[in-house]
Symmetry: C2
Subunit: 132 residues, 2 copies
Amino acid sequence: MIQESENTLKVAQQAFEHLIHGMATGEWEALLNMLTEDFTLWFPMGKFHGSNVGKERAREFFQYVSDSFSPGLKLKSLDSVTSNETTAVFEFRDEGVLFEQPYKNRVAVSFDVRGDQICGYREYFGSDGKSY
Amino acid sequence: MIQESENTLKVAQQAFEHLIHGMATGEWEALLNMLTEDFTLWFPMGKFHGSNVGKERAREFFQYVSDSFSPGLKLKSLDSVTSNETTAVFEFRDEGVLFEQPYKNRVAVSFDVRGDQICGYREYFGSDGKSY
């Protein structure tokens, strides 16, 4: 049980690093390579609101994130990491430029882990995009 | 370390139960009794957007939640509970009536624990208030 929890945290932390890298550079392959074929992603609103299924849809989503935030979205602070045997939640603040407007937000991202892969992702917004 | 984590989870779960009770009934004393004097609450938007400090401000916030959702906000499902030594995060779905409109949402709430009390609360929205 402890070993499973340690593995979950390790895998999720790797995924989080790849998420931050993708947000900053638009390079998503490292994160996409960690996803299971039945990967599901839940997003709070907009074009990808709701449940998105599969790796191709995930690729479209992450590309959309990069297309929206130019020249990139930076991690401002990682506020908390919590986990259980299957899931890890990362609370963080990020900033960048969204469609040419200054953007600051708080975010919570939840990764579900299966083995050494990510099978689920849920995003939650902690602020209004203007301040954190 | 393990004992501290177990205590954190136990205290946070108690707070979560009181949160759900307050959401459903408008009775907030049980939750308010768990808060430290320096309690801080972060909310994503609206009247209480940003950082809210102290128990009196917390009381105003939770009363505002009950005033907005009449006859009450119900827990639909608890999707995940993760924790570390100081913090626990609850991902859940809720539903009710918000200003006379049907309301459904996903929420992540993070509780910071100090001893047998709650010293911090951060809320994140996982959907648009219309579907979960």
